[in-house]
Amino acid sequence: MVSGGDDRCARIARVLAEVPDPEIPVLSVVDLGIVRDVGPARVTITPTYSGCPATHAIEAAIRQALDAAGFEGVAIETVLSPPWTTDWISADGRAKLSAYGIAPPTMAACAPCPRCNSSDTEEVSRFGSTPCKALWRCRACLEPFDRFKCH
């Protein structure tokens, strides 16, 4: 993901790794796979969903973090292609999601409960609190939970 390979890019990448997603603050924009490329003069990002209201907030947060770290001259470019996919959520990001109480995206028909790990769970609603999540319920511990949709 870091192109150019020099120290400057690595420093920019470290700044980005500290920028939280506004809806799921345990994840950074890097964990989420939003950051597609880091160059010495340009950071390339991609939106998750076409209509995700967090898109503008994310760009503003990245701008603020870059400016604060002295990278005022680094441009932010938004690209649509290739389209964002949950496959780009890092292994680290998946572990953080699970610890936060959100079942990470998998192709499996059933999501294990992030609280008690039971597989006796069911989908309540295909859409949840944000475009990227579905609402599930655990029949063992009776707690509702969010599941990150495979996308």
Binding site: S50, L80, S81, P82, P83, S125, P131
Partner: protein
């Protein structure tokens, strides 16, 4: 004379914008909280797609109009959406019937558009197709549930599908402008999408034990030429009221 790609992007954007506005009318009034969330999210996806397609249209036009300008400051006869998307929501069955028919069409359309020779159209479509696939599945689930539910829900579902069926042919019709773009591999061959649409619709209707929709009358068309039902003007009044009353307002 407008650039044909401008017109094309505008049409696709208008379809998404008008349906997104319609579906958002359910926000806060849907039958259950889960349905409310679902429809609000569907509307949000559609408005997002509209922003991208109208933004591209404005970029191609090069006259300084961005997505907001195109959405809020055009009059009803300048909209080129298909007539199905501007129809009132009706009852829940009618909303779901429209969503199912339109999302199923849109899934095929965006899928084909993602191979367009115009890379900016292809990029938006490749992103959007993943979203509408989910909409089609959601609406399909409800078609089956209502069709296979009570006598009341089944009867309403049959009436809803019959009611919307007159607007289906327009989704697959092409004018000379689109045919010229098709020759350049920019536009989608809409007619070629019809067999897959009919098969997908037929499969869900069969699963819900629902009869094939009947034509109550001949197909209705004209949206692509700006000839709309009276409903679109009322929808635009709601959509455009604030920016028209307070131009360039910021918050």
């Amino acid at each position: 004379m407008d650039d044909p790609i401008f017109t094309y992007a505008l049409r696709i954007g208008d379809d998404a914008l008008v349906l997104g506005q319609r579906v958002s009318e359910w926000c806060g009034t849907a039958p259950t909280l889960e349905v409310d969330l679902s429809l609000a999210n569907v509307a949000l996806d559609l408005i997002g797609q509209a922003t991208l397609f109208l933004g591209l249209a404005g970029e191609i036009e090069g006259a300084g109009r961005d997505a907001d300008r195109l959405a809020f400051f055009r009059d009803v006869d300048a909209f080129q959406n298909a007539l199905m998307v501007e129809q009132p929501n009706g009852d829940f069955a009618r909303t779901i019937a429209r969503q199912f028919l339109f999302s199923t069409y849109q899934e095929g359309f965006y899928g084909a558009l993602s191979h367009s020779a115009e890379p900016r159209l292809a990029a938006i479509a490749a992103k959007a197709v993943k979203e509408v696939r989910y909409h089609a599945a959601l609406a399909g689930d409800w078609i089956v549930r209502l069709g296979d539910g009570t006598d009341e829900s089944r009867q309403r579902m049959i009436e809803a599908l019959d009611w919307h069926w007159r607007f289906v042919d327009e989704l697959f019709a092409m004018d000379a402008g689109e045919r010229a773009l098709l020759e350049k591999s920019i536009a989608v061959d809409r007619a070629a999408l019809r067999p897959a649409f009919d098969a997908a619709v037929g499969a869900i209707l069969a699963a819900g034990d629902l009869p094939a929709p009947r034509y109550p009358q001949r197909p209705v068309m004209g949206g692509r030429r700006g000839h709309h039902s009276e409903h679109l003007g009322h929808l635009l009044a709601t959509l455009q009221h604030i920016p028209r009353s307070y131009p360039d307002a910021r918050w």
